[in-house]
Symmetry: C2
Subunit: 415 residues, 2 copies
């Protein structure tokens, strides 16, 4: 059977979104509870489907890490169900009156938080994204139109099948979740131009996907972009704090977007701090500029490319700067606007750094690894936005909403 | 002399934006006061430049309305200067702490409002947009990169020259305002792809410009789109209120986006209200569906196209619907998501309409003409967004900002 055309799938999601938009919090929570239950209930089928995907990935010679990201287990399914229940427990952003006032002519004005409509998500391997995204979308009143990868298609189909049946059991349309099962490459290009269907696209993938979205999307989108994050160790840094933060930001989980990629050090403190940090970072490949290499002669040369690269592994570039201005210049040049940290005891340096660095998050004497929806107390997150419009930084439920003006009167007209 | 390349102009605006981002409210207000003064001081040169543009438009056979939109006078310049001073008097959105909290580990988290950076504006004839846009951009800490029309180039160059000198006099970079003087059509296409330069594009023009932006822009943008606005007269409407609102929404200023384009009437009240409204709308060209024409036999046929068209003139389409659901369906089908109104005395109808209509603004017993930044008390506006991300409805100073997370600690790391 030919796959259902993308536009038809989109219309189904759109129709469901209109109903979901006015569902009560209780109905949505019910739907998530039932979805969690259905997911557990379908664990046999989901794991069997997942085994197919895993076998296909292994046969294709996928790396162990990739296969592992794909693999589900009873425990992982339990976490996915737990995630749905945790989102059900979060406050509903829909209906919040953001602000309101009364005009001199007696009109009352409220800005009320409303769902976006259809949230489109393009994502790669990990099938747990499927249930995470559905949880956040449904709780915020949005239908989810999902385009996962070919590699996880059997898993995603089984998971969405379970979630849909749970949602339907709660009396909401199963089409609150629609999976695009046609995973040919061309469908991504078509997906990002479903204007009038997708109200917000969240691409979750690497630079190639982001570039495709930026160049070709006609639907509104929020970019979950790269994190080329810096930690700047100021002349006046507490060395214990610097060591703790640098080690944590680089090594605690090097493969994620809020990990540090470049260490920037004030010239005055470099001879003291660099040898100490190099020892603490044992096992990390270090590359540095000329000044850094004069202090750490054993390390490689950091090219311009290194400073511009999100390594996502145990590699660190080191730049030595003359002063705070030099650090600000380096960061302005190479930052992707994700998370940038300073380690200092100097009040003025902290104040300038937080004001002048242009990023989703700026940190003083804290690890960049805290820039995460869960860590910051936002509840779950659907991604970390590196753009400035709509959402910036970790995106939670509220970032999956819009607002509308509700204006009430008793016959007022404009003169 | 060859015009300066667009990318170079963009870099100048970008560099200015970095300085402007940390300017105090006092400095920005000073700059606007000086800009207003400089504009008045340069009125001779500006009016001479404008006379060139007007002569060119007349020679090219421009319509009287178009020439009039282009024409400046001492009085209009006075209004433009007054507009700059009015924006100076508005509250500065930059630095506002949107929210903040302390985490269990002692980290303090604040979300602080910050400028976007460079705001790009592509606009058509009216040269007063130049100073209006500059006022809003500078007050919100953004550099303005302006691409006006060829028809107003002499006026725009003279106006921006004056504004730049005023801003420089206040000690801020003149490049807070950069005008693209190369008005060949190709520069628009290049303008909308200045990624990394333009942080937010606001296209102010007709459907062709909006389509170009949607299809080709790689920079983030906010669409100031069409307003195909409806007024729905419910079965239970107060007829005096209905007449007042319908007449106001259609005729008070028909050429603007918040004017009514389609009247939707409940079948039960149509035989009574339509003849009365038709009399009150004397001079307005009416077209209607079959049911409307049965009551008003003299009017033309409303085609599907009519229902989908923003007439922007004294023409009105009329649809008769069976009930509130029919009205909601009609609006969902044809609305551009701008402003939609209901006239009713029925509590439940008002409640459903405000919840279920998906638009930037929904109104009960009030004219759609109120959907305007000034009328709603937001101060000046740079446009009315019909998109759902970032800004929806009238866009004031706050919509020209982003937020950043400022996270302060004393050595916290993630475990």
């Amino acid at each position: 059977m030919a796959p259902e055309p993308l536009a038809a799938l989109g219309r189904r999601a759109k129709a469901a979104a209109r109903i979901l938009a006015t569902a009560t919090t209780g109905q949505k929570n019910d739907a998530l509870e039932h979805a969690a239950e259905a997911l557990i209930g379908a664990s046999g089928a989901v794991l069997a489907a997942n085994a197919e995907d895993v076998a296909r990935a292994e046969a294709a010679g996928g790396t162990e890490a990739n296969v592992d990201r794909l693999r589900l287990s009873e425990a992982r399914l339990g976490q996915m169900a737990g995630g749905l229940r945790a989102v059900a427990a979060l406050a509903d952003p829909v209906g919040e009156v953001v602000e309101g006032w009364t005009l001199p002519n007696g009109l009352t004005v409220r800005r009320v938080r409303v769902p976006l409509g259809v949230v489109g998500i393009v994502y790669e391997s990990r099938p747990n994204v499927t249930s995470d995204a559905v949880g956040l979308c449904v709780k915020s009143g949005n239908a989810a139109l999902l385009r996962g990868s070919a590699g996880a298609i059997a898993s995603n189909a089984a998971i969405t099948g379970a979630l849909r049946s749970g949602i339907a059991k709660a009396g909401l349309p199963a089409d609150c979740v629609v999976l695009v099962e046609d995973t040919r490459r061309e469908t991504v290009a078509e997906f990002v131009t479903l204007r009038g269907v997708i109200d917000c696209l969240v691409p979750r993938g690497g630079p190639a996907l982001v570039a495709l979205v930026v160049d070709h999307a006609t639907v509104p989108y929020v970019i979950d972009g790269d994190g080329n994050c810096h930690v700047y160790v100021d002349a006046d840094a507490d060395l214990d704090v610097a060591e703790r933060i640098v080690v944590n930001a680089k090594t605690q989980r090097p493969g994620v977007c809020n990990a540090m990629e470049t260490l920037v050090v004030h010239r005055a403190i470099a001879p003291v701090v660099l040898p100490r940090l190099a020892r603490a970072l044992e096992g990390v490949e270090l590359v540095g500029d000329e000044a850094a290499r004069a202090i750490l002669p054993g390390i490689g040369v950091a090219t311009d490319d290194d400073f511009a690269t999100e390594f996502l592994r145990l590699k660190l570039a080191i730049a030595v700067v003359d002063d705070l201005d030099g650090a600000l210049e380096h960061i302005a040049r190479y930052s992707t606007g994700h998370s940038e940290a300073i380690v200092t005891r100097d009040y003025e340096a902290a104040r300038r750094f937080t004001r002048e660095v242009d990023a989703a998050a700026v940190l003083v004497n804290a690890s960049t690894r805290f820039v995460d929806g869960g860590e910051l107390g936002l509840g779950a997150e659907i991604g970390i936005s590196t753009q400035k419009l709509h959402a910036r930084g970790p995106m939670g439920l509220r970032e999956l909403t819009s607002v509308k003006f509700v204006i009430e009167g008793d016959g007022q007209v404009r003169s």
